[in-house]
Amino acid sequence: MNAVQRHHLRIAWWMILPCTVGLLCFRLFPILASFLISFSDWNIIGIPKFVGLDNYVEALTSPLGVKVLLNTVQYAAVYVPLATILGFSLALLVDTGIRGVVFFRTLYFLPFITATVAVAISWKWMFATRFGILNAFLSWLHLSDPIAWLSNPNVALFSVTVVMVWKDTGFYMVLFLAGLQTIDRTLIEAAKLDGANRFAIVKDIILPQLAPMTFFVVLIAMINSAKTFEATISLTNGGPNNASTTLGYAIYQNAFVHFDMGLASAQSWVLCLVVGGISLLHYRLQQRKS
């Protein structure tokens, strides 16, 4: 390395220094600190007390901890397939050259770029038991007594899930749309000439060709489902009786409402391991497939 190269290298180091320092101070250090805090009983204003694995035991075995984990799984079990299938279906619908399709693409994408809190408040009005439009519609059809969409423990989590599926589907649609653009159109034309119907084309050509994108969408949807927070705080506050409290929301509650930083950190690491595990599984599966 000559003097000029060394000089350029020095400049490069100086250029990335602020970003690196920021990354170390505001990302890496808090991550490492949270790992240490997860073994302590700490309310921010007091002195941390070492409690070993107590916080992990509470997060994984206490009745509330188990409920939160089950809610998170239940949320993901509905959100991921629903958002993926709807995103894919919408992508197929708007992947045409007909007039006005750009309008519909924009329309379906709009909820995604709308603030979650605004979306949640609008849905909250629609979900209102006595005066909400959903129950008014059901009543008009004589289908059901008013449903407490946000207060019935059997329905509340599903309601939150539906709102987030409605909001995020447009994003997954765009991802699938990008995948569809990469498919060789001659394959589809050839299949049509061979007499394949629309269903067969989707099943035998589009879906296999979209496999990498589908993997990606499922992964992103799973990660998003584990992080859900804004819709929960705006719609249900985690209620009724924690029926809609998922891991992301429980971390917020424990950290910034109850100031139980130890438990919140332990739950964060559980969440990190879950998301990391899913990502690893996804990576392995994709490697095996390729």
């Binding site: 509330l64 038991t129 005066f131 423990p153 009724p240 910034f256």
Partner: protein, 429 residues
């Protein structure tokens, strides 16, 4: 020449820094932090008056909403950088005192004439043999009633001698299904599992949710009697809607929107009722009815205060106390206490200006009666966790009682659940 210029420049710079430091040293900066932007704006003239009366003192104030205030204040405490004076709530004072993050100002409080302040408001801050904050105002849940609905039903207005039975009789008469669709259009009462909706009934029946030293949840017979009465209002008597029926309506809007004739909540809601329903909405207030287990002498009111605390790290302890005395006492103005927030300083609270005879409710002295009587609270360290409050209102005791009020769980099962959970929270304190 160049050298001379450099020396001149260096000298000028040094002088400027020196002058700046001298000015900075001659000005004492008192840091002050609160949880309400609007209240800080109202306090600005008082702060200015304090600065004018204390030349060389500058009050550096900041405000943020409660959900940001506590995390921020906690972070400052952890960093050893607390503001000199900050607001303290009755729900957090126990934890902050236990962790040594608020100063014992007992010596300063000993120097005031306590008779000028409401004793109950100060007693919230008496912990571990000291006084760890000083009240600026206090609040108490009261029974709100819609006078027009009472007049239409030909009923006498509630008064502070009312018993549970008197209340139930009125609530039944005020519950009306005018279109005969099976769902009342007007309920006699509105309640859900919120602390300000439930605890007043417990205390006014002489009950306790906690054991004597507040280390365990142990609802006694009088508390159970009160809980049974309140939950029966929705489940047995049908005079209150199931809380889930009111989804989509802010809880504080049910009464001013005329959907319920009575409501128990904090006195601070007087301001909200006026704003939501307008100045012509006629309503009154009374003390929460007494249960069958008490007589007038041993019924206990529920009241708590908002306070000002001094940081243990402050280097201006005397000045901090002087500021608190000014802000809470005679330096305060009645305009700073909208509606049902009661000034802790009695001469202001008991003035005609605070009583607001020209506005509804026209009997605000009811709140003062509560403050002069025996009062209590159920606050403990980690209260919000076991009680279910703010962003965790969906859980804890609140969540369990909502299940009962919605007819999904028996009261005994709900009590067993929240006692077990609450005690697991309290045992970790």
């Amino acid at each position: 020449m160049k050298k001379l210029l450099k020396i001149c420049a260096a000298l000028s710079l040094s002088s400027a820094i020196l002058v700046g430091q001298v000015f900075a040293q001659s000005e004492s900066v008192l840091k002050y932090m609160v949880w309400s932007d609007s209240e800080l704006e109202r306090e600005r003239p008082m702060i200015a008056a304090f600065e004018a009366a204390n030349p060389g003192v500058k009050v550096e104030s900041s405000a943020m909403p409660p959900k940001d205030y506590w995390p921020r204040l906690s972070a400052l405490a952890a960093a050893g950088d607390l503001p000199d004076v900050f607001w303290m709530s009755s729900g957090f004072i126990q934890s902050w005192q236990a962790d040594g993050q608020i100063d014992n100002i007992g010596d300063k409080v000993a120097g005031i004439n306590e008779a000028d302040w409401y004793g109950g408001a100060i007693s919230v801050a008496r912990l571990a043999g000291g006084v760890y904050s000083f009240p600026k105002n206090w609040v108490a849940p009261v029974l709100y009633y819609n006078t027009q609905m009472f007049d239409e039903a030909g009923l006498e207005y509630p008064n502070s001698n009312w018993r549970y039975d008197d209340f139930l009789k009125a609530a039944k008469a005020l519950t009306k299904d005018t279109n005969n669709d099976g769902t009342p259009d007007q309920y006699g009462y509105w309640v859900y599992g919120r602390y300000a909706h439930i605890e007043p009934w417990v205390f006014r029946n002489g009950g306790n949710l906690l054991n004597k030293d507040r280390t365990k949840l142990a609802p006694d017979a009088a508390a159970m009697e009160a809980l049974q009465f309140v939950t029966d209002l929705a489940n047995v008597h049908g005079v209150a809607p199931k809380p889930e029926l009111m989804d989509g309506i802010r809880q504080q809007d049910v009464f001013p929107m005329g959907m319920a004739a009575m409501w128990v909540d904090g006195s601070w809601n007087i301001d909200g009722v006026r704003k939501t329903a307008g100045p012509d909405f006629s309503f009154g207030i009374a003390q929460v009815p007494m249960g069958p287990s008490v007589n007038k002498n041993n019924a206990v009111g529920y009241a708590w205060s908002d306070m000002m605390a001094v940081a243990p790290t402050t280097k201006q302890r005397d000045l901090s106390w002087k500021f608190i005395e000014h802000m809470t006492g005679s330096g305060n103005k009645v305009e700073n206490f909208g509606g049902g927030k009661v000034p802790a300083y009695r001469p202001i609270a008991e003035s005609d200006a605070w009583l607001e005879r020209d506005k509804f409710p026209k009997n605000k002295e009811v709140i003062l009666e509560i403050g002069l009587g025996q009062t209590t609270t159920s606050f403990t360290p980690n209260w919000s966790k076991w009680r279910g409050y703010a962003a965790s209102a969906g859980g804890g005791m609140n969540g369990e009682l909502d299940k009962v009020l919605n007819g999904r769980k028996s009261l005994q099962d709900a009590v067993d659940s929240f006692v077990e959970y609450g005690n697991s929270v309290l045992s970790s304190n």
